[in-house]
């Protein structure tokens, strides 16, 4: 998997140097309607705006960027004709669309209009292209150079190193709570577990089925580490979600955390960040766990998919408009905004961590049809464990029970 990335990074650099980034005009063949449903953050707004350049007398382009997109997309694409022709999705949000067969294979369109796309942008399910990725994201290590230096420590390579480093920092009185993690019960807490579990190299499910596979040594190892880390966190760690730990970071109250690459830019933004902290903030790939070599953080992509319940004409213009929206020219202009997976992207310092994950062989967040149910079960059932109210065995048992009931309702387990 890493071969893709490395090969591309090299060829991309060459390309980026060679290609004079002239802003390509949007030329769309055919006529029709483009309606984009996406999440609401800056990189996607850029893509939506660029796609809107394709509007003409014959092509109508509209977009709806909303944080509720995950809840809207199902019914919106089920309707016939679908309300939206394009759904911007990620590893997790594409799953419901795949499960219900609401998006169409894009192989023909890629062949016809996808010259600017790179092979690794194609999300293939069973050999068919179902989505085109254009953004990468993931959690990776944020650390304070100054604190680690003062404590005489190396940059931690593993979650175990993080705990050991935290111990030293605390003992030397450099910081009261050297660690932070997004342990708030809910989506964030479940992501913490999944990240580390993927780092062990084990699979979350038994092969080829929806049966759970986390009641194992790896599962216990992960939970033990999660608990150990809380000892070095502020007692408020149960309220820590991704945004909250960014603020704790900015307030100079923690020295190491595994945080989203998409929030790295804000942490060192000279206009907003705490200057003392920002100057000493550095990024590295996600730590490994249990002596393994796989970075313990899931890789995420954002991409677009085209609705099934629309006319082929609409699908064709929608595809072309989106390809323009993520064209190398657009990306070149906004390269600092995110980690783009597009030809010609030159990673800046804030993309370092995500790229380190990818080159280090981190796994992608799983796209199994029942992954969402497991995530939900983890998000609620690990609450007592992380709060220190129950032990790992009980927590794993609870997760299995909650997941089992949900998977039965979903028809995945008999």
């Amino acid at each position: 998997m890493t071969r893709f990335w490395k090969a591309n990074a090299v060829s991309l650099l060459a390309l980026a140097i060679g290609a004079g980034a002239a802003l390509a005009e949007c030329k769309v063949e055919g006529a029709g309607n483009v309606a984009i449903l996406s999440n609401d953050f800056e990189a996607l707004r850029i893509v939506n705006t660029a796609a809107a350049e394709c509007a003409s007398d014959t092509v109508k382009v509209s977009s709806n960027a909303t944080t509720e997109h995950k809840n809207i997309q199902g019914p919106a694409l089920t309707a016939n004709p679908a309300e939206y022709t394009v759904a911007v999705v990620a590893n997790n949000s594409i799953v419901p669309l795949l499960n219900d067969g609401l998006i169409r294979p894009l192989d023909d369109l890629v062949a016809k209009y996808g010259q600017d796309l790179q092979p690794n942008q194609l999300i293939k399910i069973d050999g068919k292209v179902m989505a085109i990725a254009f953004l990468g994201n993931g959690q990776h290590l944020f650390y304070r150079k100054d604190i680690l230096e003062k404590a005489g420590l190396e940059v931690p390579k593993s979650y175990e190193d993080m705990v050991a480093a935290a111990k030293v920092i605390k003992e030397k009185g450099l910081m009261e709570h050297p660690l932070a993690a997004s342990d708030k019960p809910g989506w964030d807490l479940a992501a913490e577990f999944v990240n580390r579990f993927l780092g062990t190299g084990a699979d979350l499910f038994k092969e080829g089925s929806a049966e759970l596979n986390i009641d194992s040594d790896q599962g216990r190892l992960v939970l033990a580490n999660m608990r150990e880390m809380t000892a070095y966190m502020s007692p408020d760690y149960l309220n820590f979600d991704a945004n909250e730990i960014s603020k704790v970071w900015d307030a100079n109250q923690t020295a190491m955390m595994v945080q989203w690459g998409s929030l790295a830019g804000a942490a060192v933004d000279p206009a907003k960040a705490n200057p003392d902290v920002a100057a000493n903030t550095a990024f590295a790939g996600a730590p490994t766990i249990g002596g393994g070599t796989i970075p313990g953080a899931a890789l995420w992509w954002d991409g677009f998919a085209i609705a099934k319940n629309i006319s082929d004409e609409d699908a064709a213009v929608s595809f072309q408009a989106m390809v323009h929206g993520i064209s190398p020219a657009v990306v070149a202009e906004h390269s600092a905004v995110a980690t783009w997976l597009v030809k010609g992207f030159q990673p800046g310092p804030t993309a370092e961590g995500v790229i380190a994950n990818a080159t280090g062989g981190a796994k992608a967040y799983p796209m199994q049809p029942y992954m969402g149910l497991l995530h939900t079960a983890l998000s609620t059932e690990l609450a007592d464990f992380i709060a220190g109210k129950e032990e790992a065995d009980q927590a794993l048992k609870d997760v299995a029970a909650a997941y089992g009931a949900a998977a039965k309702e979903g028809g995945f387990i008999k």
């Binding site: 953050f41 019914p75 900015d250 907003k272």
Partner: protein, 293 residues
């Protein structure tokens, strides 16, 4: 009642004043704190170090060169087109209030005057309907709305909000109608009015306090709604609350909470005027000698 107040014994007077003062502080302080904080930057207002940052504005000084900043307001109103959401909210809340009250007063009046068993059962049914978590209802609407191609527009949301608020409106107005003596409309009927005329000419004039109060709640329900508006409106038609929610940030973007704070503060100004305006109606509405006991 002001005459009774004058005759209050000193100890009771003191007790009332202290209690009221305490309550008003409890009610106003968080809001006042918010207003104050809306002129600071986020690391000050939501300081991890000490609340004194919010008072002194350390980071605000550092970032903007002054202890107060309009950045929150600028960000919300100018950079993020908050005014567009404000207009949408205005349309939605006014429509919801007017429609709710119109059909609610008719229905509430009928329920209060019917005396039939089925009227009771309608009330109970309405009450039970109210128990349904809104999110469940809303997720049920989505597919039909998409299929009928009426999703995302303001009228759909207005009608849904009216319907969802209807049980409450009916109950509340029904209670108010019950407190108005039957003789009032019955004498109008005897005088040859139709039911509707009796309702309009005899009952409604003394119902204003009830209508205004219910209207206030309908207004606030529509105004504060998040479940319906966030799921049923497209971005162009977004109202204020989903807009404010979008300022709060996600794993993808470190939002700007101060935009949300500034937006909330500025959204309260028209409400202040509204309440001051209608407060007179509530107080003076009953002077017409409506209640004869």
């Amino acid at each position: 009642m002001s005459t009774t107040a004058n005759r209050m014994p000193g100890s009771l007077r003191l007790l009332t004043t202290v209690f009221l003062a305490l309550w008003l502080v409890a009610a106003v302080f968080p809001f006042a704190w918010t207003v104050w904080g809306s002129f600071k930057v986020e690391p000050d207002f939501f300081s991890r170090t000490s609340f004194w940052d919010a008072i002194e504005g350390v980071r605000t000084q550092m970032q903007t060169g002054s202890a107060f900043t309009l950045d929150g307001y600028r960000g919300a109103w100018i950079e993020n087109d908050f005014w567009r959401s404000a207009i949408n909210t205005l349309i939605v809340t006014i429509s919801v209030t007017v429609i709710s009250l119109t059909i609610g007063t008719l229905g509430g009046y009928a329920l209060a005057r019917s005396g039939q068993r089925y009227a009771f059962w309608i009330l109970i049914a309405a009450l039970v309907f109210r128990a349904m978590p809104h999110i469940t209802l809303v997720s049920g609407y989505m597919l039909p709305f998409f299929q009928m191609n009426i999703w995302g527009i303001l009228p759909t949301t207005i009608i849904v909000l009216v319907a969802i608020n209807q049980p409450f409106t009916l109950w509340m107005l029904h209670s108010f109608f019950l407190s108005i003596p039957k003789d009032l409309d019955e004498s109008a009927l005897v005088d040859g009015c139709t039911r509707f005329q009796a309702f309009r000419l005899a009952v409604m004039p003394v119902m204003w306090p009830g209508v205004i109060t219910t209207g206030l709640f309908s207004f606030l329900l529509a105004y504060n709604d998040f479940a319906v508006t966030s799921m049923l409106l497209s971005q162009d038609n977004q109202t204020m609350i989903p807009k404010i929610a979008s300022f709060l940030g996600s794993i993808q973007e470190s939002g700007n909470v101060m935009f949300a704070v500034a937006a909330v503060v500025s959204a309260t100004v028209p409400l202040f005027i509204l309440v001051l305006f209608f407060q007179r109606q509530i107080v003076s509405g009953l002077t017409a000698g409506a209640v004869k006991g």
